[in-house]
């Protein structure tokens, strides 16, 4: 069901853990649905992601996508990181089974939530988490309610 790359990122996940120095933390999902992802960012003064870690309660796809997403954004600016979509993560993993695509969406949401948290901490405002927590709603959120900062919007 999973390809070798997904299995590798599940069995040998990169960037597992938490960051004491985190200045942006995003947590999305709901244990009810079997997926919770928490991403910790350490963003430097030039808005470059210096370090990133994750913790995931979820299936192999959820763990592999969190791992891949953290690897992809390490060293990126937060604006670049915001352009990463779940499809980018899934394709970097060489594809996921169709019923597992929602897991990759969660990785994108967790990353976005962490970046929003970083921004709101910097601006002194708090923003609600991107994902309200129900897996079924993810696709609707993606279409309708996902907050993308003006500067980060890209035509696609």
């Amino acid at each position: 069901m999973y390809n070798d790359k997904v299995v590798d990122y599940f069995m040998n996940p990169r960037n597992v853990g938490s960051l004491d120095a985190a200045n942006g933390i995003g947590e999305v999902g709901n244990p009810r649905c079997g997926d919770v992802m928490k991403i910790y960012l350490d963003v430097d003064e030039n808005e470059i992601i210096r370090d990133v870690k994750f913790e995931t309660f979820g299936c192999a796809a959820a763990i592999a996508t969190s791992s891949m997403a953290t690897e992809m954004v390490k060293g990126m600016t937060i604006d670049e990181a915001l352009r990463i979509t779940n499809k980018d993560v899934a394709s970097e993993l060489g594809g996921l089974p169709p019923q597992k695509l929602h897991c990759s969406l969660l990785a994108e949401e967790a990353l976005r939530a962490a970046i929003l948290d970083y921004r709101s901490r910097r601006n002194g405002t708090r923003t609600a988490p991107v994902c309200a927590g129900c897996c079924n709603a993810c696709t609707e959120y993606e279409e309708e309610e996902r907050y993308i900062p003006e500067t980060s919007r890209v035509a696609d």
Partner: protein, 388 residues
Amino acid sequence: METRKVYLDNSATTAVAEEVLNAMLPYFRESIGNPNSLHVWGRDARRAVDEARASVASLVGALPGEIIFTGGGSVSDNLAIKGAVWRAGEAKKHIITSAVEHHAVMDTFKWLAKKGCDVTFLPVDEYGLVSPESLASAIRSDTLLASVMYANNEVGTINPISQLGEICRERGVLFHTDAVQAVGHIPIDVSKIPVDMLTMSSHKMYGPKGVGALYIRKGIKLTPLVHGGGQEFGLYSGTENVPGIVGMGAGARITLKLLEDGEAGRVSSLRDLLLDGITSRIPDSFVTGHRTERLPYHASVCVRHIEGEGMLLRMDFAGIGVSSGSACTSGSLEPSHVLLAMGLDHATAHGSVRMTLGIDTTRDDIDYVLEKFPPIVETLRKMSPYKG
């Protein structure tokens, strides 16, 4: 990579026993007849089918004429339930089942509900047991049928089938039980327990896949699902799957012998070693299902703070085959309906693991699992945002 292989998913399917395979082989190339043919090839095949029918009948204490061979456990469940409902017509529209049935029963009831039947789903307690009182109070004057599984596939709990059947008999309600997980593994005698129909599956008792049986107590009439040549007493038309049926008969003889030889005692002590070993070595883990009213080969646990699919895959890579009631193993977002009906919360139910032992399972296998499982849990917990 690990070379050792430990298969602990015998509830999903068992290996075909060597004696079973040897019994089947002549019916592919030598005794090739259609049992409905009059010539010697046909008569040989008919005799083989009849012998298998007698073997299956004696495993459960039935008469050979009360055994219908079908295409498997799901077919048997569908035939028993739809067959009884269709036969009754408009007279009785109320049917009863439990909240923890296999989907072959559960989804048949849901479908019949859409078609106009009035369905009651009985709750279960924290062990997955259906109480005789709840069945008794659910029965109405227009109740046709109750179907309660003999033993649960996910948690191994054995229901009080005698008592449930007794209640149905007193109230004039047909009683069906899906005994797929139980037949051949615990003693069952339909001549002593008030069961009207009982579902069996060959590939859970060392026989081949694609064949099952339904015990139908003499005198009970069903409407068939499949019409055609009138095979299997008119209840399951289609040329008999002779090698499969022969295999199921051989499986029945083997499991009857195993029961007599005390295999249940051997396998249940291994099961207890496994359950005790897991719950003592893995913090925040617990046994699901009943501890004593339990299938001898069935071990199921929940491990908190992590999700089942990850455990299943890592066990797989360590050479151990298990299954899980987690949503992620099924492609849906809902975890096992059985665990939820037993009152577990979603997050805990996602962390379920089922290990089902078989005739090939050894003490070394259990020791191997007890060596490999705890570090897998520890690794996954390190990745989890929940630390307990």
